[in-house]
Structure formats: C-alpha cells, structure tokens
Symmetry: C2
Subunit: 251 residues, 2 copies
C-alpha cells in the first residue's frame, strides 16, 4: 500500500478542484489506476465550493451573542454555528460542542484556519455529493475506477490530538461489515465493523498535516478497499444506539 501527497496551488473560492488536481497529478507524473483512492481535505473542497464566509457580513442573533459569551467564540461565528449545526450539546472556552450532519464536531466544523483574516470556512454543504462529483470528474480524466473521500480532522474523547474522519465518500464501501468473519481460532468475530474510510483519512492526515503544507489531496494506492459503482451513504449511529452517547446525558 502506498500513500502519496499531491501538492496543489492555493485553492480559492470558485476554483475547479478537478482541474487543479488533474494539473498537479500531470505535473508530478502521477498516473491514476483502477482502485486508487483520493482523500481530499474538506477545507479545500469547501473553499472551492464557495463555503468561505466573510464574518463582516454576518449579523449575530441574540442567542448567538449569549452562546458566544458563554463559550468565548466570536458572536458572528456562533451565528454560523447555529445555522449549520443540528444541536449544541455543550462547549468549552473557544468551542461549542455540536452535532453537525450527524457527527460530533466543535463549532459545527467551522474553521478560521486556512482562510484569510476575518473569514471562516463552513463544512461542504453535502460531502457525499461533493465526493460523487469530484469522482465523476476525476474518472473522466483518468478513465479508471476511483474512490474519493472528503476528509476532516477531529479529536476523540480523552485523547490528545486530531485524527482523520470521513465526511463523505464515493466509489468505496466506507464501513465494512466483518460480521460472520472468523477469528484466528475459527470462532465468529466479536468486533464487527471496520471504519475503512475513517482509517484512510487518518492515513492521509499523516501527509496532509494541519498547517501550511498545501497538500489538500492524498493518493492511496493498493489499499484493500471494497469498490462500488455508486456512492454508499456513511452509516451513522443515532445517539440512542451509540455506546458512548447512550451512557451519558447532557448537563
């Protein structure tokens, strides 16, 4: 299995990300093959899709002002958090802890990093659609069957540091069901599902970094991934089904 970072010029609102990637791949003489998986940083995809917001254009509501004070967040950014998230379940200084598009994320995934001063970038509106669109464009360019993942970085409970998380995928099975497999002793397996897409994003994060690397795309070649023709929805736990969530209640 090989993991290769693809450097691009800085991606700006309105850029055609497929064109830019094709240019960078050509320049680096990287030729895509059947089964290759491209992991794209959500911030680059969202920026190209016009999800960058100039904070000076946002007028915070009273609720946003209150929450902004409580969690020490810019009140205009908090207004965007309220618009983007499904639910706010708490917070710490600097971040409201939200459920956004079904997953836990600080400040609804809104980030001021890698945006010009006074601007923030929202998550892609529909990462599944973004993945499908980029995959279609890239497959046309390279004439082979690819997987595409839109990846983000998140922290885990009681762990320090960011790991990878897939927001949307196309062309691959994002979570593989290992139920029915046998263990080393021929017994049915207890552990049941593999978060393949999340693991691919974590592998890609090693090369993407978080700072000024300008590597918004990572090519993963030779990963034992199940390819599919269309796009499979990311399966998501409801709070009631989740082992962690079902054992907690909000303060």
């Amino acid at each position: 299995m090989q993991i290769i970072g693809v450097r691009t010029p800085l991606i700006k609102p309105g850029d055609d990300i497929v064109n830019m990637l094709c240019g960078s791949l050509n320049e680096n003489e990287i030729f895509l093959r059947d089964g290759d998986v491209l992991v794209l940083a959500e911030s680059a995809v969202a920026t190209a899709e016009g999800r960058m917001v100039d904070l000076s254009t946002v007028i915070p509501s009273k609720e946003a002002e209150e929450l902004a004070g409580k969690y020490c967040v810019d009140s205009r950014e908090m207004e965007l958090v309220l618009c983007e998230c499904d639910d706010i379940i708490g917070g710490v200084p600097g971040a409201a802890l939200t459920i956004t598009k079904g997953t836990l994320s600080p400040n609804a995934g809104i980030d001021g990093s890698n945006a010009p001063e006074g601007h923030v970038v929202l998550l892609p509106e529909n990462a599944q659609k973004s993945a499908a669109k980029i995959r279609a464009g890239m497959e046309e360019f390279c004439c082979c069957h690819l997987g595409v993942i839109i990846g983000d970085s998140r922290t885990q409970p009681l762990r320090l540091g960011c790991v990878g998380m897939a927001l949307g995928t196309s062309g691959i099975v994002p979570v593989e069901d290992a139920r029915g497999s046998k263990d080393l002793f021929g017994k049915p397996l207890n552990i049941t599902r593999k978060a393949v897409a999340d693991n691919l994003v974590s592998a890609a994060q090693l090369l993407m970094g978080e700072a000024d690397e300008c590597i918004p795309c990572v090519l993963i070649r030779g990963a034992p991934v199940k390819m599919v023709k269309g796009s499979q929805e990311m399966p998501i736990f409801t709070p009631e089904e989740c082992m962690y969530y079902s054992n907690i209640k909000q303060k």
Copy 2:
C-alpha cells in the same frame, strides 16, 4: 510513504515476538531502515506476554455477577474487567464502558476474539514498556533506529466501525504539537495537535483487518514522524480537560 503487512505464524503465550518478527521479515526479504515504524497488534503482544486467561480459572465476585447480569457479559469476564479497569462509567448489552489505562474502552479492552474457546486476552500490562522492549530487540536485530507502536482498535462516539488507537509507543513522538505553525494565510493555527501515533495505527489497521489475517505487524516506511531516542509517554487528557467528557455527566 509505504505500508507493508508482515504475516507471522500464530502467536502463542510465551512466544518471543521479536524472534518471530525477525524470522518473518527475513523470510519476506524485508530489510528494516532508519525511521521505519512497526505497528503491532496489542492482542498479539499481550498473548505473547502471557496475558491470555482461561475463564474456567476465574471466580466472579458478587459485584461482577451483578454487572454481568446488567450488561449481559460473562460474569468471569466481568470479574477481569473489574480488575483491569480504572472505572466503569456505563454499558450496553455485551459491554461495560470503562476507562482503562486512561482511555475509554469497552470491557477494559478484554477480548475473546483471537483466543481459544473459553479464553480471553487482557490488554498488555504496560504497552509503553512492551513497545520499548520490542523496539530494543528489533533495533539490535536490524542495527537501525525504529519506532514501535502497540495498537488497538476502538469505536468513536456516533460513528460506526473501528479505527486505530495507540496504547503505547517507543522511539517516536506520539502526539505532535503543531501550535505555533502557520496556516495557508500565515496566521497561527487553531488546531493544535496531531495524533500521529493514532493515525499510524489507523493506517496499519487497513492491512491488519480484524479477523483471521494473521498480520499482527505492519511496517510503515517514509512517514513524516519525529523520531526520539527513548520513549515518550502517551499524553492523555484528564476527564476535566476533555471537551467531550467535561460536557457530560454519568447517568
């Protein structure tokens, strides 16, 4: 960056894991180099270290019997969970949700998969020490500077499927501090730490799988990892510092 699975014979209690790995590497003509990182499955390391327990030798306490009934777990296994964990914070049918060695884990990381019928495998007693010992042995064998990680798989809140998590490391910086780095626009970064060791384990999990693959070791070559001479402790959040944990309370 390259990721290579290393197949070994089935690892049994008392086996010398360094010897077995060296044999497998030789057989496959894989020659280790400076900066290579070996990710080892905790179940293999724990088994070799004699952490396999015959459940018929365990006498459950009254507390274990009660919790076993509550969470539908074998009462002898629950006795082991009570011995191994720091705290039980809840549970679902089939698993008590515990904090063990500082991290969230179902059933204190005790697993009946990949153990003979009627047996379970506890986590390595001290994964940092295991990593340091294996690294010393492997470095003697290959005469170069390596990183070693003992890896496990865990689920994340509101996500389906297992991802990688590092229990202990040696020779590498497990969590890199990116504070002070600049973003694409030259502003200081908001996101601050990279869980490099967890991401390396997630990358390795893609090749390890969860079932009868017999790939307890994965070699990662060319990862941009910071090497160190000794072993750095895995930094761990206290529940109070954790964004998720500080916002919840137990039922």
